[in-house]
Symmetry: C2
Subunit: 175 residues, 2 copies
DNA sequence: TACCTTTCTTAAGGTATCTTATTTTTTACC
DNA sequence: GGTAAAAAATAAGATACCTTAAGAAAGGTA
């Protein structure tokens, strides 16, 4: 990715919204410091988290960013952040890149795709307790760092229910 | 993708297993005629469908195929099929491709990623009835073509429950 | 046509997860 | 350090979805 020029490094406070559901994504966000989330709010006001982006992760609505259609997610800081903004014009004209960069991009998409497919399988076939365990193994640092309700919105249960999962797991491991 | 050479076109009967969960994927499968499914069977014997591949779709376990690790899915014909096998050696050495081909591959990964992310959002936030409606809109031809139990395994409910969804939807639309 | 097999439907009872409400704990701020 | 606000824990009752089992419909084959 080294030959993609980075437009600007900006700082944000916790809780700022960088992209709103329904708007068109102008930027990809590369996190230098802090953590972002991409999420939807459904018609009964409940939040569902698509992705977390801690340090060195990249986040956007790929469909909106690439095809200039309305975004299906919002993106928001969940800690104070320093973030590189990568503009659409830097990114969309993939043909103008060096081949090496295109290979990097293809590999990045492929790895993201593998990760997304694993998540689909988990949502289809794993219990919520198992999805929580998977989360703690995949993101050991985030388990400590994120509030419970965000983890619940990521694995697909209510905060109350995740609280119960934790209690039952603690009881089990007592002996 | 035009400069990827195609190894061979093979024919299969309905119900043949092309890749078994746990084995390493040697091929990508490009469907000329018929339909494939990729799926897992969980520890209580229940089937969960990752993807359908009707005509012109490509299917494999991308992680297994790319990184030579055990596959997390099985792939099986659900109709009589004609299928192009694309071998790993044709595909994995992405650096040796023309740039144009690499751009095609990147775009294909990107589009798959967008589709997978939509499915994750659906699994997180939509009711099973809404996921069924989404399925009928995304794959109108498959709704008629596939048995109910496969659609149920794709949207993440039991066949009995999907049968109930259909009944309630029919009743609703009566007036 | 008749038979066998698979698919689909229906229904009763069970489990997982949600909703709502209340209490306790933690965090943020003056 | 004290107070307000947010987050987490707990619990009771409601709903979505599953399990099991049985019967009805549809498809394939002799």
């Amino acid at each position: 990715m080294k030959s993609i020029k980075i437009n600007s490094l900006k700082t944000y406070k916790k809780g700022e919204i960088l992209l709103k559901q329904g708007e068109t994504a102008k930027y990809g966000y590369l996190v230098k410091k802090g953590c972002l989330k991409s999420y939807t709010v459904d018609n009964v006001g409940k939040e569902h988290i698509m992705q977390f982006a801690p340090e060195n992760w990249m986040i956007s609505d790929l469909d909106s960013f690439t095809n200039q259609v309305p975004s299906s997610v919002s993106i928001e800081t969940i800690e104070d952040c320093e973030i590189f903004l990568i503009s659409k014009s830097d990114f969309i004209d993939i043909d103008s890149f060096d081949k090496e960069v295109v290979v990097d991009i293809a590999n990045k998409f492929r790895n993201n795709l593998i990760a997304s497919n694993k998540r689909i399988l988990g949502l289809l076939s794993a219990t919520s307790e198992q999805r929580y365990i998977d989360f703690t193994e995949t993101y050991p640092t985030l388990v400590q760092r994120l509030p419970l309700k965000l983890i619940a919105a990521y694995i697909g249960v209510t905060p109350e229910y995740l609280s119960g999962i934790r209690r039952r797991m603690a009881k089990k491991s007592e002996h």
